[in-house]
Amino acid sequence: MAQYSKEEIRDLIDGKLPWQSARAIISGPKDDDRFDKYLEILQDRVPWKERILLPLAEHLYIVEKEKERITKCDCGYEFGDYRENWKLKALIYVRDTEEKLDEVFFGPRKPDPKFCDVREFYCPGCGAQLEVETLPVGYPAVFDFLPDIDAFYRKWLGRPLETEKEFKDLTYELTRKWGEESQSK
């Protein structure tokens, strides 16, 4: 089994490892202890104490908070249960005019705002741009990745988490509530 030091993994994920070394890691057999070293590196970097269960995206982590599992930004902002699409708790800015699009897509390079939403999702805590969606107008926010954390820890890592959660998309429970609020107004 291949093995790399924590420093090598750190430099690799930061894009700092010399290309020849990175290339060798890409081509070679993978290191089975990668995940643990990866978590250690990331845990050392965040300013909060909750245990990282899974890195979800740049700036975003699924963490264990008391008996809950939540999506959390490295700035500390909490998005709620990880089974709910975190985008529903983010700030959104939609580039839906030619002028707004031209700031990013120069001249003829832009999509047609009548057909395409360019949606930017920001962390309400720190203003990090967490995701950009380009979708047909009207398409629901995409729940990019809903990890099956319990299956991962139990079956793949062989160390089940203490409290298991049902593998279920909870996003629609929130939108149902919003819909009921809209109707009651």
Partner: protein, 744 residues
């Protein structure tokens, strides 16, 4: 008592019996062919690896043989071919480098022949050759032609070798290998060989050659490709026989089965080792613009089709892909097939997670694809064109890479992240003035006409670095000589350059794309049109990740009645590159009739010598991460190379830079950059609205159906394609259960 006819398979079985038995025992045991223990591998691993290496070497040598015989630059230089070895049942054992998308479809053609009793009629014998490019049997588009040869050892069929070659022309209504706008039903697709016996005794049939000569625009290319494929197949077949002589028939059969089972287990292991189980989503869309195209009335309409992509990485490591909600099929060339989607998955896996040269049928075994019947991914009629069934496949492949990248990221294997792209181009159709009057100009494979020829498109970003600039679809492909292309085709390549800021912005940006300019020359007439596989029109596919932006939409400039000849005579500058996209060189330097092509397009007037086509080959190659997290040394490097503009540096990356004319280099002001980035975060917090507020406003618009009719029709087409998409759409927007986008 009736005579029981012996089959040509193992122990006198028919191939059909073997196919059914292998399927049954695989289903019962969960292992390919019931191989539970890898006895050959574990008993003598060196011998086992040696057999695989010899097979692989024979396949790659066969591929090289074809290249030496063929005349087509697509084969000789671009290397759009691939050779695979199959079991008697049509399961891929090993495949050469090249267009590995065909691992599955070539095997499906073999299975189709078996199921259709080819063993009885037309018969399968030593020295036979079968040809297929009918994608309703299996395949990726009619220009990909399969030549398939059985391998006999002492009167027993022990396998098949199949070669796929992409043709320069397949005689369709629009010429070129990926014809676009005019193919609206099956009978516009051109030349068909429907798993046809085209040779015996290792010779091509003369009547088949005559048919090709009289129905294709480039018959010489086609026929030399067939001869190249035949030579390659014979070479591999004879090497397989030598291997059996050397290793023994029983060992060969056992070990080739183990190679498949081994790859199945490897695929599962790698998924469990490198990813995280769960559900990944990324929808794709296809835009079809035929309303103003020269096609029959029944096809003359615009449509947008949605294909939701739901990928599940199961706790077993298996992959389940579901396209439920894919919209209706239609009379255009962008419908695909389940086999096509498996093809897309096979090349995506073979070039990423199954990269070790052992990708085969086993790699695909733990992958399930569900294509709803009677939809654009699984039409209920065979009478559609298949010219571009690649289009949804390419988009799916890119989506799959994007989604898999999220799972790699979660597990810590960021170095495996590679974001997908879309393919873009224009094609040129016409009549040459020089040479053979039957030969037409075909721009897809003119320099710059197709991104693969000169590495015209950049990859999406990687997880530890920027995307690869000017990469190609097949990694081992060579771009080919411009001069060789110019010999056969009627356009002169006059310039090409990286387009600054053409990769999606991000912490790591997409690789850069090329702007390529051609002057039409040597034609009686020419017609240009867009390639229908370019699926970035009005709507950008969702290609950025973790805060990175997607790339850009493809466009081209076409200049009719251009004054290029005068410019050349007066030695004035030609518009070789795009320049500033808001004030392009072509508009400054050339007179007359300039068309900016963005959607599907076909010139309604002929193009003549000295007219210009300039392709800006934006491939929508997305960025990774928030652009304001980009390392300033990368920004400086791009500035120094002219790959990014000061506008992008300041406004997108929020970095302040100054140019030292004496040193001819840029310097980043780190302190100012830090301030600019802090200000950008504040701006975002001010302009961003809570998602709930946006949701409420958008919901109102959806309730009132306030969107373009094409989008309303797109959603309507998908809402009843299986229960999930419609239900989830209604639940997300909290719409009444009976809400539809119909016109009632």
């Amino acid at each position: 008592m009736a005579e029981v006819k012996q089959g040509i398979g193992e122990g006198g079985k028919t191939l059909k019996q073997m196919l059914e038995e292998t399927a049954r025992i695989t289903e019962e045991t969960g292992c390919y062919g019931g191989i539970i223990e890898l006895k050959s591998k574990e008993g003598d691993p060196i011998k086992y690896e040696l057999l695989h290496s010899r097979i692989l070497s024979a396949l790659i040598a066969g591929r090289e043989t074809t290249r030496m015989i063929a005349a087509s630059p697509i084969v000789r230089e671009v290397q759009e071919l691939c050779i695979s070895l199959y079991t008697p049942e049509g399961h891929c054992v090993a495949t050469s480098t090249g267009i590995q998308v065909h691992i599955v479809p070539m095997g499906e053609v073999i299975k189709w022949m078996i199921r259709n009793d080819y063993e009885e009629d037309p018969g399968i014998h030593e020295g036979d050759l079968f040809c297929c490019n009918d994608n309703t049997i299996a395949g990726m588009h009619p220009a990909d032609v399969y030549d398939i040869t059985p391998i006999f050892y002492e009167d027993e069929l022990v396998g098949w070798v199949a070669t796929v070659i992409m043709e320069m022309d397949i005689g369709s209504v629009s010429c070129g290998p990926m014809p676009s706008t005019c193919n609206v039903e099956r009978f516009t697709d051109g030349f068909f060989a429907c798993a046809e016996k085209t040779g015996a005794n290792d010779m091509l049939r003369r009547d088949f050659l005559i048919r090709a000569e009289r129905t294709l625009r480039y018959p010489a290319m086609f026929l030399l490709d067939r001869k190249g494929a035949l030579a390659a197949n014979i070479k591999v077949r004879e090497e397989v026989k030598r291997l059996i002589d050397e290793f023994g028939l029983d060992y060969y059969k056992r070990a080739t089965g183990e190679l498949i089972e081994d790859s199945r287990r490897t695929q599962l292991h790698r998924m469990r080792q490198r990813t995280v189980p769960g559900r990944l989503r990324n929808p794709q869309y296809l835009e079809i613009y035929l309303k103003n195209m020269p096609v029959p009335a029944y096809a003359r309409k615009d449509a947008i089709r949605l294909i939701p992509v739901d990928i599940e990485i199961k706790p077993s490591g298996e992959i389940a892909i579901d396209f439920e909600g894919a919209g209706d099929w239609g009379w255009h060339s962008l419908n695909t097939t389940p086999t096509g989607m498996y093809g897309g998955l096979s090349i995506t896996l073979a070039m990423t997670i199954a990269y070790d040269g052992k990708a085969n049928y086993g790699t695909l075994m733990p992958c399930e694809i569900k294509c709803p019947y009677d939809s654009i991914v699984n039409p209920s009629t065979m009478y559609l064109p298949t010219a571009n069934l690649w289009a949804p496949v390419l988009t799916f492949g890119a989506n799959f890479l994007d989604s898999l990248s999220r799972a790699y990221y979660a597990r810590g294997f960021r170095e495996e992240i590679l974001l997908g792209v879309n393919q873009v181009s224009t094609v040129l159709n016409g009549l040459r003035r020089r040479g053979d009057p039957r030969i037409h100009a075909m721009g897809e494979f003119t320099p710059g006409g197709d991104p693969r020829q000169i590495g015209g498109i950049g990859s999406g970003a990687r997880g530890i670095a920027d995307g690869i600039d000017l990469t190609m679809f097949n990694p081992e492909t060579d771009s080919g000589n411009m001069e060789v292309f110019e010999l056969g085709l009627s356009a002169l390549f006059v310039g090409g350059r990286v387009m600054p800021d053409s990769g999606g912005f991000g912490k790591y940006r997409g690789g850069f794309n090329l702007c390529s300019t051609q002057i039409i020359y040597g034609v009686e007439w020419a017609i240009a049109e867009t390639m229908a596989t370019h699926s970035v029109n009005r709507i950008l596919q969702n290609r950025g990740i973790f805060g990175g932006y997607p790339g850009n939409v493809f466009y081209a400039y076409v200049v009719r009645n251009a004054n290029t000849k005068e410019l050349i005579e007066q030695r004035l500058p030609l518009p070789k590159v795009e320049g500033d996209p808001r004030n392009p060189d072509i508009k400054r330097l050339v007179n007359d009739d300039i068309t900016l092509v963005k959607l599907w397009w076909c010139s309604d007037e002929i193009l003549e010598d000295y007219d210009i086509i300039q392709n800006c080959m934006h491939s929508n190659n997305g960025g990774f991460g928030d652009p304001i997290d980009r390392d300033t040394s990368l920004i400086q490097s791009d500035l120094d190379l002219g790959f990014t503009t000061l506008e992008a540096c300041r406004n997108i990356y929020c970095a302040e830079a100054t140019y030292d004319e004496r040193k001819e280099e840029w310097t980043i002001d780190e302190q100012k950059t830090k301030e600019l980035r802090g200000m950008r975060r504040k701006e975002r917090l001010e302009r961003g609205v809570p998602f709930k507020k946006w949701w409420q406003e958008t919901r109102e618009k959806i309730m009132k159906k306030e969107m373009d009719p094409l989008l309303l029709e797109m959603y309507h087409s998908s809402m009843d394609k299986g229960p999930r998409f419609g239900q989830e759409f209604r639940e997300f927007w909290s719409l009444p259960q009976d809400f539809t986008f119909g016109g009632e």
